[in-house]
């Protein structure tokens, strides 16, 4: 049985179909990533799966419960980390957890017993009585994660869990999320950090304009969609060099002054670049980001 299963999901706002026929299958214990540019429909998809927004068409099953019909029952076993923190500014760190537990119908004693370990998990053990507006962005994010765990959920839904965090804070969140996966929890997250998706997710789906355009493990997506080597080149005389390079590389993408040259073997390309000192280049293995840009294009999405 899937932890989350969606079939032919559709949602329209006015003239714009935000979600246009999506199928999802997330296995229990899996970390599943939904990738896509801004406006791809990721957040709406999550809201539909949680029963917070009702779909125009399609079927959803969350932890075996039909959604939205029995979304309430499903959400009792789910934790949610929203894109923007909505901690309760009227309460302290510990009070935020205590009040949140009450929304799940937990007894005062059950919540009180859970709060210390969650503060420990979030690295906020010394901050139980701090006010929310005294916390850094990273601390707020960790507290939001701790809050989502108050009911010991089987499945955790996270919308861009590390957006806006500095590298230290981001790595700490990643470490905690890995720990949750090891504990057997199912994770569903959206992100547009390819590094995050590559590090955390067992499986990914790339979403654009309301549709899923690719799915698989990070390695499989790279192997399937892109040549293994990339050379990024910029400088004067780029166009002249590209005329030669196109014979050596199957695919070239141009973004402003920079050319992204994709090849199975980059050595001949590097050879031609060594003689051209007016050109700067960077040679690296292809990443998920290259797959993402190939599939969703390089245009801005605002």
């Amino acid at each position: 049985m899937s932890a989350l299963r969606a079939r032919a999901l559709r949602k329209r706002y006015g003239d714009l179909e935000v979600v246009s026929g999506i199928d999802l299958d997330v296995a229990p214990g899996e970390c599943f990533g939904l990738l896509g540019p801004n406006g791809a429909g990721k957040t709406t998809t999550l809201r539909l799966c949680l029963g917070l927004t009702y779909p125009d068409a399609g079927d959803i099953e969350l932890l075996g419960e039909p959604v939205p019909a029995r979304a309430r029952e499903a959400r009792g076993r789910v934790g949610v980390v929203p894109q923007f923190d909505n901690l309760d500014p009227d309460f302290t760190v510990a009070e935020n957890l205590r009040v949140y537990g009450r929304y799940f119908g937990m007894s005062r004693a059950a919540v009180a017993a859970r709060v210390p370990e969650l503060l420990e998990f979030a690295g906020l053990a010394g901050r139980a009585d701090a006010r929310i507006n005294m916390l850094s962005g990273g601390m707020k994010r960790r507290l939001t994660l701790a809050r989502a765990l108050i009911n010991d959920p089987q499945l955790l839904v996270m919308d861009e869990p590390t957006t806006g965090l500095d590298p230290q804070a981001r790595h700490l969140i990643w470490e905690r999320l890995r720990r949750l996966t090891q504990e057997g929890k199912t994770l569903v997250l959206t992100t547009h950090f390819m590094e995050e998706a590559e590090r955390l997710c067992h499986r990914l789906a790339i979403m654009d304009r309301g549709r899923l355009i690719a799915a698989g493990s990070p390695r499989a997506l790279i192997a399937e969609h892109i040549e293994p080597q990339v050379v990024e080149v910029h400088g004067s005389g780029l166009d002249r060099w590209l005329e030669d390079a196109r014979r050596l590389a199957p695919r070239v993408e141009r973004a402003g002054d920079t050319a992204f040259v994709y090849a199975a073997d980059a050595a001949p390309l590097i050879g031609t670049l060594r003689e051209r000192h007016e050109l700067s280049y960077l040679h690296r293995p292809a990443s998920l980001e290259d797959v993402f840009l190939k599939l969703t294009g390089r245009d801005l999405r605002d």
Binding site: L50, Y54, R72, P89, F91, E95, Y103, F104
Partner: protein, 249 residues
């Protein structure tokens, strides 16, 4: 009864800010009551068979309840819904927008009831009430609170920004306070204006409370109670409809 968790959240915040909250809810009506009641009351021997300050205390009990219920469900409610996104966080839990709407309305009515109850206590302490029957004003205050909390929450779930509330405040609440018998008997108004007052909920709250302060049984009590209940029920249903549209569309 899941909505109690929503009520409880607001109660816990209120308890933290207890002093400031009570002070702001009581200072205004009490200053008005004693300022106008004694000041104006000295000029008026009696109004509708009672001292002006007793007359005015009954009106203030209802209008203070109305204002507290309205402010709590509109301004505080909008802050929770829109600014702080507290409702969004609640909706991730096994609670629905129906629970939030019910919790917010009962909470605003509870806080409003406390405003009314404090004026009740002051009125009793100063001997403004004629008999123990005045204690029945307490459940009436809760009913007034529920009706105005529900109407206020309609405004909240329809509001795009804070300015939206000034239309309701200026165009409806303020005139309603003037014509509903808070400051003077509504019966001395021109017939059509009285008709408008009688179509609105505040008038009926005052028609119930004023005789109770005077030590008498209200005439047409079932009618007044029915009007307040109707406003509460319709307000709740309409607020719920628009809240569902805003949150699950």
């Amino acid at each position: 009864m899941r909505w109690i968790a929503v009520w409880n959240r607001n109660f816990l915040v209120w308890r933290k800010l207890f002093i400031a909250s009570v002070l702001s809810n009581l200072a205004d009506p009490l200053i008005l009551l004693f300022g106008l009641g004694y000041g104006l009351g000295a000029l008026l021997p009696s109004v509708a068979g009672m001292s002006y300050i007793s007359f005015f205390a009954a009106g203030t009990l209802c209008s203070a309840t109305m204002f507290t219920a309205s402010f709590e469900s509109m301004f505080s409610g909008f802050s929770r819904m829109h600014g702080q996104k507290t409702w969004d966080a609640i909706l991730y839990a096994p609670l629905t927008i129906d629970d939030v709407v019910a919790g917010e309305i009962v909470w605003a009515a509870s806080k409003a009831w406390l405003s009314g109850a404090t004026i009740f206590a002051v009125a009793v302490a100063f001997g403004l009430a004629a008999s123990p029957v005045v204690v029945l004003a307490l459940p009436v205050a809760f009913l007034v609170g529920i009706a105005f909390a529900a109407i206020g929450l309609i405004m909240t779930v329809l509001a795009k920004n804070w300015d939206f509330f000034s239309f309701y405040m200026t165009l409806i609440m303020t005139p309603m306070t003037m014509i509903s018998g808070v400051f003077f008997p509504a019966e001395q108004l021109p017939r059509p204006v009285l008709g408008v007052a009688q179509a609105l909920p505040l008038y009926h709250g005052i028609e119930l409370v004023r005789p109770l302060v005077a030590g008498a049984w209200p005439t047409h009590a079932p009618l007044h109670i029915a009007v307040l209940l109707a406003y509460a029920a319709a307000g709740y249903a309409i607020a719920l409809k628009f809240a569902r549209r805003r949150f699950t569309a």
